[in-house]
Symmetry: C2
Subunit: 134 residues, 2 copies
DNA sequence: ATGGGGCTTCCAGTCACTGGAGGGTCAAGG
DNA sequence: CCTTGACCCTCCAGTGACTGGAAGCCCCAT
């Protein structure tokens, strides 16, 4: 299987697949012409990676998850620990963003948005701690 | 005012302040010894930048906001447009993360997390479109 | 043989910093 | 006067996870 077909079947761009080889996540064979020759199992690994990345796992998380995936004797607790940790990070990120959103939406609401120069958004950025607004 | 004092008063690390000079956001004078000499107005600009960055505005947004801040004839509509746009991006990001969180928390909930190898998290990553779970 | 697409490598850029090396400057204490 | 330690300077490299582009093979159909 050439890289193009793998790209199509996994939904990952060829560039990304090459990058994943660079950093050692997959190790495709090579044809005599130098083209990467992916086995079915490699394709599945890449699909796995694509899904894990969609869920926001970092590359290092993915590397660990992949190792666990390949290890039929792994303990599910190990996988769960990675996922829980990642979940906590996502939740923290959501809270941060919600705080930003709340502050910003207050500012946007209070701004007339006309052609006069008076603007509570700039006023706040200029004088107060933005996070205190709301 | 030396960089250290500005750093303390704005809460920005000296490295970041130097970086902001590099990319042309501030233009401090120089003492004869080569040290940066910040005026009060520069300090305020940096504080403004720090607050805008806290709200997640990109550097380019900050550059524009700063220009509007300095322009006493600006229209508040211009500021509001930038803020609204940014707000929309934050909201999109929140939705993405919430989707990830929902999928992940289902997976974590369904995983026994013991020393047996059976693991719904890996099973999902290996076979289904992760986003379809839930 | 020619054209077009697919494949290769390597280099550079993204974003917003951050770390570190190597070295100059300043003020206080001995 | 000298040393010490805190400050300041510049420049280079690295972060994460790609992405874009140049330059150049390879393969197949016409």
């Amino acid at each position: 299987m050439n890289i193009g077909e793998v790209a199509e079947r996994t939904g990952l761009p060829p560039k990304t697949i090459r990058y994943y080889e660079d950093i050692g996540l997959v190790k495709p064979l090579r044809d005599t012409n130098g083209y990467r020759a992916f086995r079915e199992s490699e394709m599945h690994k890449l699909a796995f990676l694509g899904r894990a990345r969609t869920l926001g796992f970092s590359i290092e998380d993915c590397r660990n998850l992949l190792a666990l995936w390949e290890d039929s004797n792994r303990a599910s607790a190990d996988v769960r620990a990675i996922a829980k940790d990642h979940l906590a990070q996502i939740e923290a990120k959501i809270r941060d963003l919600q705080e930003m959103r709340d502050t910003l939406s207050t500012l946007v609401r209070d701004c007339a948005g006309d052609d006069r120069p008076d603007c509570p958004i700039l006023k706040t950025l200029g004088t107060e701690t933005a996070a205190e607004q709301r």
